[in-house]
Symmetry: C2
Subunit: 236 residues, 2 copies
DNA sequence: TTGACTAATATGTATATACATATCGAAGAA
DNA sequence: TTCTTCGATATGTATATACATATTAGTCAA
């Protein structure tokens, strides 16, 4: 699972963590006090403290003054979601990747956009191809308030996503993943039958000062795409 | 964003973290050496070391002996995915929740299951209702090798997911999320038109010793369900 | 009985110190 | 030149120590 721990505090983390994920120490169980672990491992309290602090930071245990440290009950259900770069995703299949800009316009934000930007925005639509077949349809809004340099960028070469990653630091994102039947326009764009189930991944990204950067809706062809997430309770 | 830091090492973490997520210190940027920060904050190296170690643990920076500490470039794209408990999800909408077991059988594992279990398995199908409308169709396999007590559990009261959470510790999970058109059988079970786009969440769970515990496929009614994920570069 | 104070206790934070370890760069040897 | 050695440097780990702080349990007085 994890690499063999070589330092003492890492060994303590590994051994306590193993008892927790194995269920030997169930949620709510009080793990030994620092001074007990100090004795058990024949080390200083600082070393034990470092180990327990890290276990607390990773969410496996909860520490309470005077009471001790306790195994936390599992969080709602959290998983690390990997949404791969579209280009890398297609390359992994051994298919040639191609990007095509369909439209680009600069305009004012409308209420229906649900995307506030006083300085206006850039609206892009484009397609991503795997080989000759369209793979993903992208509809994107970029805030000119947060990213004024987008007004001068033609977006003919690289993908808008890649350009933004290179030019704009971001601090928060939200993804929503839905299933939707392809309407006539989408079916045409993706060269599929109308009504085919599509996976719609919508992502919003914010800057450090909470201003919206971009909102993108990626529509993937039906069964051709899966979002995969891995999870372990200790967040490893 | 974060709560006001009250201790010194938390303040150091917050200030360095802010410069990173704001883009002031771009990926690859070398942050000040420990001894420089020691001077800057007028504190001991251990305090600075604690702060930088935590920043490294959370993935914001990378530390290299002799070279210093550097801002990490953003990982592929990872997000914390919250897949809510079905019951809580429906309760949040203010609708009454109901669970219905459709079938339960104990059988040997077949090759087509793609789910190894020498001791056989329990196969369950059930439905989750929001009010009077079916909300989610569940198809589950439970390994009797890892969870022998499942053979004696009727699963008439609580949901299989809840029962497993209460009885079996697990250490790893994998989710795959797809879009799929409802076939005739699924359309009937969910009381929707055949062909409607459904969100299919498939989850596999393993025990601490890497043995499979359960594999569940949850099929949600089309637009009625979205999986939402939040993400920030520092994992906060 | 109630309430306020107090002692005990476990964790939280910070310091000074020591030695280990990885690595770069420069000096010196082949 | 090329290879080796070695010193300098920044981080990694661990210790002993000190005081702060939150919380519980117990004591004692109104």
């Amino acid at each position: 699972m994890t690499a063999e721990p070589r330092s003492l505090h890492e060994r303590i983390i590994a051994e306590i963590g193993a008892r927790i994920v194995s269920g030997e120490w169930a949620p709510g169980h009080r793990i030994p006090f620092e001074h007990e672990l100090t004795e058990q491992y024949a080390c200083s309290r600082m070393t034990v403290n470092k180990a327990l602090s890290q276990l607390a930071q990773s969410g496996l245990i909860e520490r309470r003054r005077r009471l001790g440290s306790f195994v936390r009950r599992p969080r709602s259900e959290a998983a690390v979601l990997d949404i791969h770069d579209i280009k890398a995703e297609i390359a992994a299949l051994g298919l040639p990747y191609r990007y095509e800009l369909i439209s680009r316009q600069v305009r004012k934000a409308a209420k229906t956009d649900d995307f506030a930007s006083v300085a206006g925005l850039v609206e892009l639509t484009c397609r991503h191809f795997a080989g000759n077949a369209p793979f993903c349809f992208e509809e994107r809004l970029i805030s000119l308030e947060t990213v004024p340099q987008a007004a001068d960028e033609p977006f003919l070469e690289g993908t808008p996503g890649g350009w933004l990653l290179d030019h704009v630091p971001w601090s928060a994102a939200e993804h929503a993943i839905r299933a939707r039947n392809a309407d006539r326009k989408m079916a045409e764009a993706l060269a599929i039958a109308p009504g085919t189930a599509c996976l719609v991944v919508e992502r919003r990204t914010w800057s450090a000062d909470q201003l919206p950067i971009t909102r993108v809706r990626l529509t993937y062809v039906g069964d051709g795409h899966a979002v995969v997430a891995h999870f372990s309770p200790n967040g490893a």
